[in-house]
């Protein structure tokens, strides 16, 4: 962990990504305290009328929605599902992908053939339509989004980890372990895994950004978790109520937040990739 932080700190863009991610993490933690209003509450003027579509003011820093809800509070609370889906899906995706890649690359032969053909098959699945149909079957919700993402997205990680494993498996240290009597799984977990871990970490950061984008997209299509306020759902509400033409304060912030969080994942991943594989540095 220490070395990861050191590595990120040496690259300025990577550091920017890390700081950005840290800010979002902090916001997610303090969101319930920091949010000035209940994000779902309808706010009223003192005279009893609804605070509808009001531009930013001292009471509502980012204005209000058509239903009189506070945009800033929604934005702050939206940090939580975004980070949750992003981090949890990334862990699942990279976990599955790393295992498939390690097993295929280490055993080779028909095991490799079988696993790689399955990987190739998953490349034929149109992801967003698949997630959409799954959401319709299992019901909209945050767990089902994570399931949809995990079922398909491991394919990229699996391919990369496999080729890395194949380049490692005939190295002397693996031979040495084998001669010393280590079993297959011991070699995979004790000797190969630590060597592919840096690469897996790169994919962890990249997948996080990608999963956040998927959550937002599904919510925008109307398959978000009905119990949660998320950035994608804010944009869905804004779009479907035709408010986007008048309420920029409602439309701009959620998209910007998604872009920045996805960017932070990309910057961390890219920066760590250069350190994990120094050949990429130009």
């Amino acid at each position: 962990m220490r070395s990861i932080l050191d590595a990120l700190a040496t690259d300025r863009l990577g550091l920017a990504g890390l700081v950005l991610f840290g800010i979002f993490l902090a916001l997610a933690l303090i969101a319930p305290i920091a949010a000035p209003y209940d994000p779902m509450a309808l706010n009223y003027h003192p005279d009893g009328s609804l605070v509808r579509m009001e531009p930013p003011s001292r009471e509502h820093w980012l204005g209000t929605t058509r239903m009189g809800r506070d945009v800033l509070s929604q934005l702050l609370m939206g940090t939580r599902p975004a980070l949750f889906v992003g981090v949890v899906s990334a862990v699942f995706v990279v976990g599955i992908g790393t295992h498939v890649g390690l097993v295929a690359g280490y055993f080779g032969g028909w095991v490799d053939d079988l696993l790689m053909r399955i990987t190739d098959l998953t490349y034929g699945i149109p992801f967003l339509p698949f997630a959409l149909i799954l959401a319709a079957i299992l019901g909209p919700g945050i767990q089902n989004m994570i399931i949809a993402i995990a079922l398909v997205s491991w394919r990229g990680t699996a391919r990369v980890i496999r080729s890395q494993t194949m380049s490692l498996r005939n190295r002397p240290f693996v031979e040495a372990a084998r001669v010393a009597g280590a079993g297959h799984w011991r070699i995979i977990y004790r000797h190969l895994l630590p060597n592919v871990a840096p690469l897996a970490l790169v994919y962890l950061a990249l997948t996080m950004g990608w999963a956040i984008m998927t959550e937002a997209s599904l919510s925008f299509l109307g398959y978000g978790d009905p119990r949660l306020v998320s950035w994608g759902k804010m944009l869905y509400d804004c779009y479907s109520s035709q408010a986007m033409f008048s309420a920029w304060w409602w439309m701009v912030p959620p998209g910007l937040a998604i872009a920045l969080l996805v960017l932070s994942g990309f910057l961390m991943g890219r920066s760590y990739e250069q350190i994990a594989d120094p050949r990429l540095v130009q």
């Binding site: 190739d120 959409l132 079957i137 984008m213 986007m244 996805v262």
Partner: protein
């Protein structure tokens, strides 16, 4: 002897890839069957509320083959697929393939236009970035492309829509063409000014979203090429820097970008679903969203299958192009 064996190798490679593409289609079809078979409730439940008699229900179930055991339904389903029969759309009450067929070309037109924008801008911009390497303007372009890439494509679409269509009123708010315009034939349907007017903004949105890839690939490819001897030779001949870049470097740097095009055509489809929804573009992506919402399963299934078939096709094209352009890629 050698050319013949290489040619044989190529045909075998081609055959294997095509066979695998067909296997992928079979996999997609089976996946769809499983997905829709476990769907809770039967697809008619929403129609039954309207006071159908039990006899009418049985009649309908029988008509759509829903009264048979699952494996018979599966075999029937596969047989029908092979015949090009994708079932009836519940909403439109006509063959689903016919409904999707009308949407197919709208999607293809949007995809082609957006890829043309992404690669046109990417090739020129990438070459410019390599030329102006290290300047603040070059860095700024890279950062902007990256941020657009990280922003949700539907949000970019919403912003462009409110800027250019609503505020400035330059472009239409969505759809394929102005309602009430006469359609004189298949040609004018897709090549009229009105159509291009409607196409511009959605294509730009999807194109800008896809821009970062060709831009950065072209940039690094150019940086590789300018190190080569023939560029030094061209410079030594006294050609202007502009001529060296345009005539010698760019042309040779294009190869990796061409390969990328085929790869990206396959992945661009996910974004197309969102762009079509924002711009109410009547393509397959928007149709699948609406079909799932309306529980029109045959239509959703057909759109999904055709989108999958497009991906399989482009992946195949990418593989072949890659194997053809880069002989180091193993063909066995």
């Amino acid at each position: 002897m050698r050319p013949i064996s290489t040619r044989n190798g190529f045909w075998r490679f081609l055959l294997r890839r095509v066979a695998f593409g067909l296997l992928t289609l079979f996999f997609l079809a089976s996946l769809l069957f499983v997905l829709f078979h476990v769907l809770p409730g039967d697809p008619f439940s929403m129609y039954f509320d309207q006071g159908f008699s039990q006899q009418a229900i049985d009649e309908l179930m029988h008509r759509f083959g829903l009264d048979k055991p699952w494996w018979q339904q599966y075999l029937l389903y596969l047989r029908n697929l092979l015949r090009g029969d994708f079932g009836m759309s519940f909403q439109y009450y006509k063959p689903a393939i016919q409904v999707v067929g009308e949407r197919f070309w709208a999607t293809i037109a949007l995809m082609a236009a957006s890829l043309a924008i992404a690669f046109g801008l990417g090739v020129i911009g990438g070459a410019w970035m390599a030329w102006r390497r290290g300047t603040p303007a070059e860095k700024a372009l890279g950062v902007v492309a990256l941020i657009v890439r990280c922003a949700p494509v539907f949000w970019t679409g919403m912003i462009l829509l409110s800027l250019f269509s609503f505020r400035l009123g330059w472009l239409p708010l969505g759809g394929l063409r102005t309602p009430g315009q006469p359609i004189t034939g298949q040609w004018s349907r897709f090549f009229s000014l009105d159509f291009l007017h409607h196409l511009f903004l959605p294509a730009l949105t999807a194109g800008l979203f896809a821009l970062a890839n060709p831009l950065l690939v072209m940039r690094s490819s150019m940086l590789e090429v300018v190190k080569e001897d023939f560029i030094r030779l061209a410079r030594a001949k006294g050609l202007s820097e502009r001529a060296v870049m345009l005539r010698h470097a760019m042309r040779n740097a294009l190869l990796p970008v061409v390969t990328l095009l085929a790869v990206m055509a396959g992945t661009a489809i996910g974004g197309i679903v969102l762009v079509e929804t924002v711009f109410r573009w009547p393509g397959m992506g928007r149709e699948i969203v609406m079909a799932v919402r309306a529980r029109d399963y045959p239509l959703a299934r057909t759109s999904f299958f055709l989108i999958g078939a497009l991906i399989v096709f482009f992946n195949l094209a990418a593989d072949l192009l890659y194997g053809y352009l880069d002989p180091r890629v193993s063909r066995d």
